[in-house]
Symmetry: C2
């Protein structure tokens, strides 16, 4: 019999049931569910007599757009060869089979939120049997399971982003952190400030994200159960902003005169904050998610230091020569802007050193759990990224490295542990674009995904996980995801390469 | 105006002329030609009035299948947007333009050979001018410019191999070294010994190369100017052979009894050589190339040492306990078989230590030029692979590393230098299959390609080569090759990723 393996986002759990009952085997289920009742019985499934249904206790009922769309997608995936192959039909029995899905919240028409429930139950209804058993009960270990895509160092065509969302869902990632702009290019099309992309993008037409494209990404992501969290990193990492917005970046000086080069955003001009307020107002209304990432990392003080206007502002504000105070002044202003727009701010860990009021993303190497401990001790929520910089390649950066991460292995109270809301795989774009994005992400990112979804005790062994991840990788190939091999071997259906 | 850049195999040089005369710029030409006359004049090309022709002095004339096919391919590449875009037509003039191609040998209907001439001239004929100038004169620095593909550790679908041949041609690679079988699987379909693939392949139907598929690869490669050099590595690296051919591998012993495991091919049985003779007879008639690669690397002696029959054979032959003598005995027998089949044998460098009669491929790390020197001193031809193991990834394994290789930088006579016939990029398959083959090969392999094609003095600077290689990489994308980025930036036409 054909082997099939199934996993997916939220709703992929019901495929697990099918794998229990039908042609399927359980090995390739990834990430591992929290609870799974399995019996030795096996039935063949007949696509003509198979259906999904809403459980009676389910908060969502018929017409739920998210679940209806998922039913359709997964029906196709379960019966992939339905139209072409005969073996499924030959093997199948005529007994009707229904999978009842129950969720505890009706989040059907809204965008996925930070507190969206991802708890669900799957109950197979055998009409030829009197017993019904709840087969799967599942929920994530961490609420925030993200992938960062960097569309500034290289432009990623919208198609590549949508394909990534699809692949993310199979590993139950639920946040796309869209690092949309940075030094090299500004591809975000602003209606308020059209010059930002027309002058700051690699190309004003082909290398931008129009607002309708952004909306397309967001609405696609919604049906896949994925939030889209935009990042507009400042005051550093903003070289491309300066091309379309004059007087925004700090003019650097050399020997008492402007050198012609520019540094971070100029924090001393009121016009800066007026600009940022208008930009964030637009961004906040385009991106429905309640989070916004403000960056704040790697600010180089040398240009600020060289600028006489900045220096006199420092004096006026009694900052002395401590430029972190100037940086804090800037970030507080930006956080106030986004707070007024009802957004929850996230910043890179650098900001925590001088501003201890917003959610922190830990990214630096070294003792990252020390940093997690510090941040949670201050009562702030934290997202862990340090161990999952997947833009790095090479034999040492293998899946096992990304699997063997223990986000809560620091000394701290239960309250502190709860503040670790999740983690994120970062795919920085220096050497990555649509040509190598997929094989560099998959299946290595899936290792991080299981760490963030599954019970740690059930998934502590790299050796045990290995064959299951190999199976899962073959399933990704079958679903058209260009996931690279883990080691010598083969899949039943290979990627054809063209 | 649209930028277009053109390079390709042998015949791609004529595109260089076009780049001189038409809409094209010269920066992206890769590898750099030996001689190129350039003028400041620029003309737009009209596809309606453009043609290729055979030069009067050319050894090949109309009807030459290789050149006719190349004319067709490159016409399409030059006028890529011919059918859809209007800009070319709008820009173009009505003046007829012909590129005359002259080659010095008529290799039109045969397979490319080791001594095939790759010298060619391109002469643009302006019918609206009286002067004609020979614009390009080119020839390779090294005769052998190969890429090794490993189809045993992972199966590569035929489509992926053909796509690689296409990409190879753009960088002027002219040998596909097909490492077709190895320990993990035996995908080559032998008619003489059908069990080899039916039992030794990952799958007997989907994961084999039928003989007609092998022929398809060879005849495709011919029209692209590429030789196909098969490798049947023995006596080590043969685990998969044992599955379909009993009594071929050496039974290993533990404590005086067979352990159930098997080692290298058994060199003491006459049946071994009868088998190898029949296999190589079939292989030799299927693969037209005059070279055959016999492997001979990494032979583990422990199993031979454990086997009492092998030990008594050693005694009989007066080899004592020197198993390299047994290995030499084996390799000599194999070389005799292939010599009788009129094939030129190539072996990995390990063999040179005890058998100094055939062409050597140097692959070990360390002072590889010391090895090149030794081999050439013994009067043998050598192929250099050590510095070009591109299966390795990571920031240190970048294109500049593969560019900064000087194959002749050893102390030796002119005669010795001539024995260095070329080099080879190795793409071993432990972590590589069709999902990541293209971005891992390109454009890094193109760096090696220029080293093997172009004049060393004209191409000694990494810094000068960099922008040209970036342009070339964009051209590869435009031609549908999934070449990964070298650094931050963009191409006019990005790879769409789906």
């Amino acid at each position: 019999t054909k082997r099939r393996r199934n996993t997916g986002p939220n709703f992929n759990l019901l495929l697990l049931i099918i794998s229990q009952l039908g042609l399927h085997t359980v090995e390739g289920v990834w990430p591992l569910p929290q609870a799974l009742a399995s019996s030795a019985e096996r039935y063949s499934l007949n696509p003509q007599a198979f259906d999904f249904a809403y459980g009676k206790r389910s908060a969502a009922q018929q017409g739920c757009s998210v679940l209806d769309a998922a039913f359709k997608r997964y029906f196709t995936l379960i019966f992939q060869d339905y139209t072409s192959a005969n073996d499924v039909l030959q093997l199948s029995e005529d007994k009707p089979f229904t999978v009842e899905v129950s969720v505890d919240h009706d989040d059907c028409e809204s965008y996925p939120k930070e507190d969206s429930s991802e708890k669900c139950e799957f109950e197979p209804i055998y009409l030829w049997q009197s017993t019904t058993n709840k087969e799967i009960d599942d929920f994530p270990r961490f609420q925030f399971r993200g992938i960062l895509l960097d569309t500034s160092r290289h432009y990623l065509p919208v198609q590549a982003i949508l394909k990534t969302l699809d692949a993310m869902a199979y590993s139950k990632f639920n946040v796309l952190h869209w690092h949309i702009v940075d030094d090299p290019s500004f591809p975000y099309q602003s209606y308020t400030f059209p010059d930002l992309s027309s002058k700051g993008a690699f190309h004003p037409v082909t290398h931008i994200y129009t607002q309708s494209e952004v909306r397309r990404v967001i609405s696609f992501a919604r049906l896949w159960g994925i939030r889209v969290l935009p990042e507009f990193d400042s005051p550093g990492h903003t070289k491309s902003w300066g091309k379309g917005q004059s007087n925004l970046l700090t003019p650097c000086y050399r020997g008492g005169t402007p050198s012609g080069t520019f540094g971070p955003i100029n924090p001393v001009l009121p016009s800066t904050y007026q600009f940022m307020e208008r930009l964030f107002k637009e961004v906040s209304s385009l991106f429905p998610d309640s989070y916004i990432h403000l960056g704040g990392d790697e600010v180089d003080f040398s240009c600020w230091r060289s600028n006489p206007t900045v220096r006199s502002f420092m004096q006026k504000m009694r900052f002395g020569v401590d430029f972190t105070k100037l940086q804090a002044f800037y970030m507080e202003n930006i956080v106030n802007i986004t707070s007024a727009l009802n957004k929850t701010s996230v910043v890179w860990q650098d900001v925590f050193d001088y501003h201890k009021r917003v959610m922190v993303e830990v990214w630096r190497e070294g003792c990252y759990l020390c940093e997690v401990r510090k941040v949670t001790k201050a009562g702030l929520r934290v997202i862990l990224a340090s161990p999952w910089y997947l833009d790095q390649a090479g034999p040492k950066h293998n899946w096992a490295r990304y699997y063997s991460v223990w986000p809560l292995a620091f000394k701290g109270s239960e309250e502190q542990k709860k503040l670790v809301i999740g983690g994120e795989v970062c795919m920085w774009g220096e050497y990555v674009d649509a040509t190598n994005l997929a094989p560099r992400l998959w299946p290595r990112a899936s290792a991080a995904a299981e760490r963030l979804w599954s019970d740690e005790k059930q998934t502590s062994s790299v050796a045990k996980a290995f064959p299951r991840l190999q199976d899962f990788r073959c399933m990704l190939l079958r679903r058209g995801i260009q996931a690279e091999p883990l080691t010598i071997g083969h899949c039943q259906h290979e990627y054809l390469g063209v």
